[in-house]
Subunit: 476 residues, 2 copies
Amino acid sequence: MNLYEETISALKAIVGDPACIVEEIDTAPYTTDYRKLYKGKAIAVVFPSSTDQVSQVMSWCFSHNIKVVPQGGNTSLMGGAVPDETGDAIILNLRRMAQILAVDKLNDTMTLQAGVTLSSARAAADEANRLFPLRIGSEGSCQIGGNLATNAGGTAVLRYGNMRDLVLGIEAVLPDGRIYSSLRGLRKDNTGYDLKQLFVGSEGTLGIITAAVLKLMPKPQSASAAFVAIENPAAAIELLGLAKQLSGPTLTTFELVSADAMTLVCEYLGGVKPPLADNPAWMVLIELTSTGPQDALDASLVQVLEAGMEAGLVSDAAIASSLSDLQAFWRLREEISDAQTRTGGSVKCDVSVPLSHIAEFVDKATTKVKSIAPASRMIIYGHMGDGNVHFNPLRAADQDAKSYLTNHYQAISDAVDSIAHSFQGSISAEHGIGVSKRDDLLKYKSSVELDLMWQIKNSLDPKGLLNPKKVLPSIA
Amino acid sequence: MNLYEETISALKAIVGDPACIVEEIDTAPYTTDYRKLYKGKAIAVVFPSSTDQVSQVMSWCFSHNIKVVPQGGNTSLMGGAVPDETGDAIILNLRRMAQILAVDKLNDTMTLQAGVTLSSARAAADEANRLFPLRIGSEGSCQIGGNLATNAGGTAVLRYGNMRDLVLGIEAVLPDGRIYSSLRGLRKDNTGYDLKQLFVGSEGTLGIITAAVLKLMPKPQSASAAFVAIENPAAAIELLGLAKQLSGPTLTTFELVSADAMTLVCEYLGGVKPPLADNPAWMVLIELTSTGPQDALDASLVQVLEAGMEAGLVSDAAIASSLSDLQAFWRLREEISDAQTRTGGSVKCDVSVPLSHIAEFVDKATTKVKSIAPASRMIIYGHMGDGNVHFNPLRAADQDAKSYLTNHYQAISDAVDSIAHSFQGSISAEHGIGVSKRDDLLKYKSSVELDLMWQIKNSLDPKGLLNPKKVLPSIA
């Protein structure tokens, strides 16, 4: 037996024969990324069913220098969860570790295995009359372990924070198979370095998250939402200031949507009309949620809108007057991503800048894109309240998707990132680095930052076996 | 010149003669800790005035193997900010780096140097019609750098989180003098490891924080508070659940106070009467704050209290009916710490446990303390809403402070920590480790946790020069 055959037989002994697949026809769904941009190879895909099995797999791989790619729901947009084409790694998929281990209502926490999907986690919270607030498009497939490993964001960050803010404890298996655990559900614990922070957002390059303790929130009893017409992004930021002051912490969502994005999603959904007359150039979707009564919340939303009109920021608004309105509003927002995918030919930039510069950023980046590819549709939308926009220029309806991307992808992507950076922004606000943006870090991180990242990587994964060639660019 | 003389002259050349003090009479305030439990020695105390000077000092010390103890307001309760008696370290005090660099109202952020005191930071936020929510007793002396390095907590964590939750960016000088910076004010940035997390809560052992970008919150326009009589800590936790549900995110403070703590602080303040008739065995101080009108908030507090009464949890309540009432309530809460210090002879335990176990913890720890030192006054108070209590048994009025501590300190402290640990709790919820609890980590941390801490330490500070002998216990 060669090393790979030996590895397969060792893995089968650990996880059981059916939980270790090797044939290319079986492994294909796991070696191909969500956006079908990366197609790799793997020695095997293993599906451990316990932390102990993960630990055994990692021990074996460590002592035999086998690389390991951790994988949750395989919904990475950055190629972060699939191996490359060399075929020298196994995939360790967490799917079978999908148990909710405990819901502690007094402590407002939930302990679960890493393979629980986000939607299952949200459902378990709901059943306990609580809210787990993370809300992202892939919730039916993505898993809590991946959400943590990528520090997922989404549409409720404004109120509840990113995944890093929602976790109290982590269990992770280290590259050598040892198990780190802080599954204790404490809101305060200043006993040395907060080691769990290492694993959050490290995209599986430092350890494999196997379980977590998450915070639960009081379950909102009411929600009020409106699509609001605004003149431009600068007006959106001013309106955001009013909403923060007037609605306080009930302000949950503040999402920007450009006219082109609205037109696209309405076409995609078929026969759906834009929520505002004449489909204005810019809209925001505002949502307030609260544990209090609906009428008070509605009044608060109206107060924000009236203040916005008085200040000359708001020209028109459509208020959701029923649950089905609310759902329809959210559908318009949430389907923008799929609408682009289906259309094809879009340059996806996920950037953030300080709120004080986001209007300038949008102006400058739009001008630049129009100079590169004048006919582009400007699909600009996302989490304005967090300073994060998905800035995704799209081919014109009569342009060919492939040639648009061939001719313009790199130029547009580089220009947008560079403009975001010039405003002290981030070239990946919530999607992470994976392989897609790894080498861009050479341009946008200081040498001290790159050194520190490598120091941490080398210290925790001295053999470089865990999720190789992800996140960290090669430095001299 | 020997190495120390050479060091002093090099430091004077960097920071200027008057900003480097060496005589013991001058250095004494800096070599002695806040509680006067630790008295060390230093080669010199330097007061750099810029990040560049800090960098130069660190470079010099690194290349000459000189140890460095970073120091902010020197308010550590754990001996974390003073050198030991060997006299082989310099103290690097941040006091002169006290500039507010920027307040960005649109971004709701504030950029400041590490030596700004917490009260100055709060005042700067207030001037911009914003709130910087960290609230701890030492705010007039403690500095933002120290608050970050110790991940400070306090009385508003329930609503706003710990210091880790309030920071968006950090500038820190590494042991070798290089400067790390993420002073960009972004709410979302998933471009590689979140390196600032390393420095938060590391108590100056990995780098010297020189500046930070902090989050600002909308400034509350109203506050409602009450002291509430409850039968026991279990009832407090049930009441907390009601308050979370009914008051939502306006719930800002939920502090437990035992009868002994109330009696002590009233005596200390002189002629002050307890807020509730017959000074009940247990009280909680509840505060709601909001950007909305006072009357709505008052109504919300009354609703919580009525629900508490209906559920049999609340037997009596005193509502603050004026600003001076509110201040008087807070004074009772905040002076408990000084009342103990003045009285002398108290065993300070700062523990946290999951909220679902805190009532059991208090019962069990109380029984144990009474078996060790039956006459002890049970000064139990603090941040119940975070699962964090200051559990501080105090000598009886007629006992001698010194002999009480000699006879009982170690036994009580060990017992309380061990009981907290048995409930998955923390032996230092917010005060940190410093030197006081360093060796206790050997008992309460797993070998994996200790290894990881040392791996990080050795990676970032390979010569072990930064705040030596703090936080990390020696392992074999």
